[in-house]
Symmetry: C2
Subunit: 373 residues, 2 copies
């Protein structure tokens, strides 16, 4: 009996709308999950996050292990209580960060030794350690430890995949909390043979949900779409499928169409801090000078707090004046853009017209992409 | 007929509780006014500001004139609409900033020529220009142009006072909007003779409210209290008295007791960005390591969103991890501390027990001031 249960409520081609039942509430899928790397979705209170339409958020095991420490968070009642987010949480395993942020990595079949990017202290992650960290954090959904290599080296990806698969089995064996669901992760770079092999192995372990890792890391859109198609042909159809690290509006549409249910990305909040708004028509660089007289909201079709309340002129002023509030207001908008996009796709799937939705969305999105005033 | 009307509802010694009727609503006094220097009370949305108990906020003419420009704000509907704050606003005249921030100042009896601290551009403020800027911004309460000199040089303060008085008269003559009230400013450094002379002159001009400037700039507490007593003996008793730039909790108590009705200060928001919480017991440096395990809120007696929702442990983590949310959460708390302190003093004045309130407050405040865990 898994801690999460996935219920498909509608299908449209390969796309699905569903309900993910978790210990902290129900998540409607397809869903975009904002990232709270260090136990904070940057610049937002839990209240603002909720108002932006977020229903499930991410925490990051690597970061929280280093600071403030997963044991400390366990002693303080777990991650939900620590950050005052009462909805569902997913923690990643730290694999991606160990292979992108940490210094002086040494990888072996048993795990990875590395230095903290914060203070250089020596650390070791093994599958068991990563499960221990995630059990201390107490998220509803936890992830297997995986290696996320550079996507174009077949030989290295093949070798790394063996570790990822051994680690997946060991994570499954190490997991002890019944109120958490462990999802497996498929790797394999841009290579259909490796992706196939990985999807088959991960599917065979019977996880209550499966993720696709190692995409959106430099490969082409065509390669990303092909890998998703290869993998989703194999992953069990009745389990949620989570595409890790993807969050651009057009990617959400293309990947939902290919059977993805869950997404996470730092894109909406990172772009907000760089003064870029995501809209259904494309991206807006809010520092552009024509906005200084523009009384319209960021997006006239958007119903978020930011668009209901503030003009582009005001937000541009906040950006230029380096006011903290700019990051908050644009983050609210960007997250709202992705959560409502996911919601509209749920509706389109229920109405069996996702292909039309995609057509309309992408023609508008591309037409206005850049530059935008 | 002034745009604002002051109604005293209770008295206790020299202290008063009252209602300040403005075009954008009623302000209960004594009141603490958070500062939105660049059309943003830093790190807070108008919604959060409202929930923190703020009823009237400040804007800064010097900053808004330079960026985005007061004419631009006028074209966008005025400062209330620009920053989406529908409550009362007070703008200062820019005098303080010209004399503290701007470069290459040249002061004459007609005004001040200076260079923008942003781009070095040459600017000139005269009383008429400062009224024009404030009329473009459209605040409910606007201030006369004044010179705020170093407080210990009698000869210079005497000379500056002549300018401040001439400028006050010229501001009064230049003012044209009937929906704004112009307040005068008393200067005079730490010198009772100059303060007396200034209070008499400013009082003679019949402003609907009067401010005391040039305090909390390096003088002792005893000097500050003496100056307030000298001035408040002369300023009309039926008009609001505004002590500029003061915001420490103990100063609020001491100065309300001496007949002050209005305060503003960047202290609560600046301290928040430096990870210091204001409480009724003293200040907390939230980066202190004992807080890392502390499940209590910042202040167990506080009812703000931050204290209702988050532990010291979490907020310390946000501070150490340099998360933007730290500034937001501590700003909410610090402003709430000052607005509720003002509210409790209103109540104490209505009950004719402000002296007892002061005694209790100051004994607690001093006892625990520092260090605090």
């Amino acid at each position: 009996m898994s801690a999460v249960k996935f219920e498909i409520t509608a299908r449209d081609g390969n796309a699905r709308a569903g309900l993910l039942h978790t210990p902290h509430g129900i998540v409607h899928t397809p869903v975009f999950m904002p990232v709270g790397t260090q136990a904070s979705v940057k610049a937002l209170t839990p209240q603002q996050l909720d108002e932006s339409g977020a229903t499930i958020i991410l925490g990051n095991s690597y970061h929280l292990h280093l600071r403030p420490g997963d044991e400390k968070i366990a002693n303080l009642g777990g991650l939900h209580e620590f950050m005052a987010w009462n909805g569902p949480i997913l923690t990643d395993s730290g694999g991606f960060q160990v292979f992108s942020l940490a210094k002086c990595r040494q990888v072996d079949l048993d795990g990875v030794t590395f230095q903290s990017h914060l203070d250089g202290s020596k650390r070791r992650f093994t599958p068991e350690k990563v499960i221990e960290i995630q059990e201390n954090l107490g998220a509803d959904i936890i992830m297997t430890f995986d290696e996320c290599p550079e996507p174009y080296d077949h030989a290295y990806n093949q070798e790394a995949l063996q570790r990822t698969h051994v680690w997946a089995e060991r994570c499954l064996a190490a997991k002890s909390r019944s109120d958490q669901a462990l999802f497996g992760i498929v790797q394999g770079g841009v290579f259909p043979d490796l992706r196939e092999q990985s999807a088959e192995f991960i599917a065979s372990l019977g996880f209550p949900g499966n993720a696709i890792g190692g995409l959106s890391v430099g490969e082409t859109k065509a390669e990303m779409h092909e890998m998703i198609e290869v993998v989703n042909n194999i992953l069990p159809e009745d389990k949620p499928r989570y595409l890790m690290g993807v969050g651009a509006p057009d990617d959400l549409v293309e990947c939902v169409l290919r059977g993805i249910d869950m997404f996470d990305c730092v894109l909406p909040t990172r772009m907000a801090r760089n003064h870029t708004a995501l809209t259904r028509l494309g991206r807006l660089n809010l520092r552009n000078s024509p906005f200084s007289d523009d009384q319209r909201p960021i997006d006239e079709t958007c119903t978020c707090y930011t668009c209901r309340t503030f003009s582009r002129a005001y937000i541009r002023h906040l950006c230029v004046a380096k006011e903290i509030l700019a990051a908050t207001l644009v983050s609210i908008h960007n997250i709202h853009t992705l959560t409502t996009l996911a919601g509209d796709m749920r509706q389109a799937i229920s109405n069996a017209r996702l292909e039309d939705f995609r057509h309309d969305f992408l023609s508008n999105y591309r037409k206005h992409r850049s530059p935008e005033t």
